[in-house]
């Protein structure tokens, strides 16, 4: 399965995601932000980093680049799209997932392992987990506090994907740290599954995110 990894100036988890996708059995390739036609790819991952220096707001400038129109086409065609960390912020800025990931409550960059609850297994990325399964993955962000004006719609439509289990490190609404669109094919998560894709990294709990893409 050919999976595209989007690269912006300032992306920095692109190679980690490449490695994790290979481990999962996918055929990853990089896509530069100026590419408009993504028809060669069967799934898309937007990796973490600091695209465009986080100027204006994290993800705001990446959100208006040509590749985003290509991603919108992928969504229309029913291809899975995963945004991790900065990728999640970008998907929220584009409006492909509801809400926003904004400045952490304590105004600090937080880099630590977290316990997470998989809130739904209906997305391709979480299909290999059990609903309510507790997994371990790290976060690394300064703007990860999730906020939405319409929590009820999220809950009613089963659009909450991940939430912090033991503590809520960044002050997210209802501890939410991963959401998806109504169809469940566009998924935005702040924790880094690629940094938990091998036991040597401390956990391989995140690998199923990528295996799920291959199995979809």
């Amino acid at each position: 399965m050919k999976v595209g990894i989007i690269r912006f100036p300032g992306s920095n988890c692109d190679r980690d995601v490449f490695h994790a996708l290979e481990l999962a059995g996918a055929e990853p390739d990089y896509i530069w932000w100026s590419k408009r036609d993504l028809s060669d790819f069967e799934a898309i991952v937007i990796p973490g980093g600091f695209s465009y220096g986080d100027y204006l707001r994290a993800g705001a400038i990446a959100a208006i680049t040509p590749v985003i129109n290509g991603i919108k086409d992928c969504v229309k065609e029913g291809k899975p799209v995963l945004g991790i960390c900065n990728g999640a912020q970008i998907l929220a800025e584009v409006g492909l997932v509801p809400g926003v990931f904004t400045e952490n409550q304590n105004a600090k960059f937080i880099c630590e392992w977290t316990e997470l609850k998989v809130e739904t297994s209906r997305t391709p990325f979480t299909a290999m987990y059990k609903k309510n399964e507790i997994i371990k993955m790290p976060i690394a962000h300064a703007e990860g506090r999730y906020f939405t004006e319409d929590l009820k719609t999220l809950q009613d439509n089963d659009q909450i994907v991940l939430s912090f289990e033991s503590e809520n490190p960044n002050g997210s609404l209802k501890s939410i740290t991963g959401v998806c669109d109504e169809e469940g094919l566009v998924c935005a998560v702040m924790p880094h599954p690629e940094r938990a894709s091998e036991t040597i990294l401390g956990s391989d709990d995140g690998l199923k995110f990528f295996k799920g893409i291959v199995n979809y």
Binding site: E93, A107, R145, T148
Partner: protein, 84 residues
């Protein structure tokens, strides 16, 4: 005609502002007791346009498409003839 545009972007009422909270705590360390601290972003540029109304509409569109995030931000636009 050229105009100066000024966009003031603030967080919506009730939104947590961690930067402002940190500044207020720092002021308290210096024994300044203040309340309701807020931070705003101001973006300024000059822009060509037929009249003030058309320029305002264009800047409003910029706010909605890029400069602000409607989920968390309010914005205020000021358009004035460009100062030479």
């Amino acid at each position: 005609m050229k105009y100066d545009a000024k966009v003031k972007i603030s967080l919506k009422k009730g939104m947590l502002n961690p930067e402002a909270a940190t500044i207020q705590r720092a002021l308290a360390l210096l024994d300044y007791q203040v309340e309701n601290t807020a931070t705003v972003d101001i973006i300024k540029f000059s822009i060509e346009g037929a009249d003030k109304g058309i320029v305002r509409e264009e800047v409003d569109e910029m706010c909605q498409r890029l400069l602000c995030n409607p989920v968390i931000h309010d914005y205020h636009i000021k358009i004035s003839p460009k100062e030479e």
